[in-house]
């Protein structure tokens, strides 16, 4: 399993990347950590003739933590997130999600933006971005910058709204004001394997444990990560107990169309989705009682 031949260009600047993407279009592919792209090239599922290495561009890996948002360069290393305590406080759901991403060896190379543009339906960071509805900034030489909400970015398995001449440059994560409770769970054959089903949620609870704001979603079930903003609004004003969590999870999963594979058929995948989603809703709702200690 060897990649097909290609021309290698180490990008000198973002302008250089956009110029080459504009010049080569579909034949070129930007590579950052390459933890999905290199295996795909090895299996010849991807055969770019020009590989544009953007991994070392300093302008693509800045992280700025602001009061109401975190602006994260596209090539921010996944592993770096594990050690950024300030980032954990601002984005606890991203902290929770990244622990499930691949293995230490892949997280050392893998990037946040790389996972988003690869758009594996079972990947954790796309699910976190969808649940929080992060804003993705894409840039091209011809059209400059445009923004797209994560909930409109993922179009299908390995298929996003990124145009062939565009490069994802930044992810803007919203930071909710006040304390939040988060949870992320998944089921896979082994820890680090592709999830058969995963679920993520972020809640804001008042002092009585009543839900004031909610966002949740499931991954690995549909062709894209799924968030359920309308159902999440129904949780506001409720105390989330076992029956509330299970009922909302069942309604959510009825709105999905799972596929079948070797590991899980459609019914089982939907069942797992209900279990995972119920679990994260309860875990986040109950963390209210044990708050405010960080979960480590």
């Amino acid at each position: 399993m060897k990649a097909a031949p290609f021309e290698y260009i180490r990008a000198e600047s973002l302008e250089h990347v956009l110029e080459r993407l504009s010049q080569h279009g579909m034949d070129a592919k930007a590579i950052a950590g390459g933890q999905s792209l290199v295996p795909m090239m090895a299996m010849r599922l991807a055969r770019p003739t020009v590989l544009l290495d953007i991994y070392r561009l300093p302008e693509l890996r800045q992280v700025n933590i602001e009061p109401d948002r975190v602006r994260m360069g596209a090539t921010t290393r996944q592993r770096a997130i594990e050690y950024e305590i300030d980032l954990h406080k601002a984005l606890p759901l991203v902290r929770d999600a990244v622990r499930w991403v691949g293995h230490i060896q892949t997280r050392n190379r893998g990037t946040v933006g790389g996972s988003l543009v690869h758009a594996d339906p079972s990947a954790e960071l796309p699910l976190a971005a969808t649940v929080l509805n992060a804003t993705l900034r894409l840039r091209s030489q011809a059209d400059g910058e445009r923004q797209i909400p994560a909930q409109e970015f993922f179009l299908g398995p390995m298929f996003t709204a990124t145009a062939e001449t565009e490069c994802l440059v930044e992810i803007e994560w919203p930071v909710w004001q006040g304390a939040v409770a988060t949870a992320f769970e998944e089921t896979a054959m082994r820890h680090g394997d592709f999830a058969m089903a995963s679920a993520a949620c972020q809640l804001q609870l008042d002092e009585d444990g009543i839900c004031r704001r909610a966002a949740f979603g499931v991954g690995g079930v549909d062709g894209t990560p799924r968030a359920f903003p309308e159902l999440a609004r129904q949780l506001v004003g409720q105390r989330i107990d076992e029956s509330v969590a299970r009922e909302i999870a069942q309604i959510a999963l009825q709105q999905t169309e799972p596929g079948s594979d070797l590991h899980a058929d459609a019914d089982y995948r939907r069942h797992l989705g209900v279990v995972m989603l119920t679990r994260v809703l309860l875990k986040a709702a109950q963390s209210h009682h044990s708050a405010p200690a960080l979960q480590h």
């Binding site: 990649a3 097909a4 290609f6 390459g34 933890q35 290199v38 090895a42 190379r109 820890h191 680090g192």
Partner: protein
């Protein structure tokens, strides 16, 4: 379109290695075929098995999941570079021998790299941390328990390299 070879300089086990490579050469093929360092094993070649793990600037990565050109200017440590000197074993390697943490040995270079990286960052790891650290490496012989035992042994207080060969006397195992 020409697919021009690229000049790279990669520091491997402390020695700068200038070479000209085809861009599609993976880092593991560079180590094995260009430098003759066959200690790093090629398993699945698509990021599943972890046999090809090496340290890149001190952190474990899969050398089948990157091209050598991406490592230009960086520092790589392979299993050959773990021992303090030629003919010696590191504490971890010695502990692997002591606890029978290998049978066929195919996964061993990757396991050793993962375990070295762990103790570099966490000198006294818990069992959960050990299992997490080797979570990206497949072993089909040991059931992992002896590997976990090896890391516990290597990190136990006062552990010293035991075998004669490990001390560098040059006596080969029978």
């Amino acid at each position: 379109m020409s697919f021009s070879p690229v000049n790279v300089e990669i520091k491997v086990n402390g020695v700068i290695q200038p070479r000209t490579v085809e861009p599609r050469t993976t880092l593991v093929d560079f180590l094995r075929d260009h430098l003759g360092l066959t200690g790093t094993h090629v398993g699945c070649e698509h990021g599943i098995c972890g046999a090809c793990s090496v340290l890149l600037d001190g952190e474990p990565v899969r050398s089948c999941c990157m091209f050598a050109v991406q490592a230009d200017g960086m520092s790589v440590t392979t299993v050959e570079g773990l021992a303090p000197q030629r003919g010696c074993l590191s504490k971890m390697q010695d502990a692997f021998c002591e606890t029978h943490a290998l049978q066929c040995g195919y996964c061993t270079p990757g396991m050793l790299i993962a375990c070295h990286a762990l103790v570099e960052r966490t000198p006294q790891p818990t069992e959960a941390q050990i299992r997490d650290a080797i979570g990206g490496n497949l072993c089909r012989c040991t059931g992992y328990q002896q590997i976990v035992d090896a890391v516990k042994l290597a990190t136990s207080p006062g552990y010293e390299v035991k075998s004669a060969q490990a001390k560098g006397s040059g006596v080969a195992h029978g």
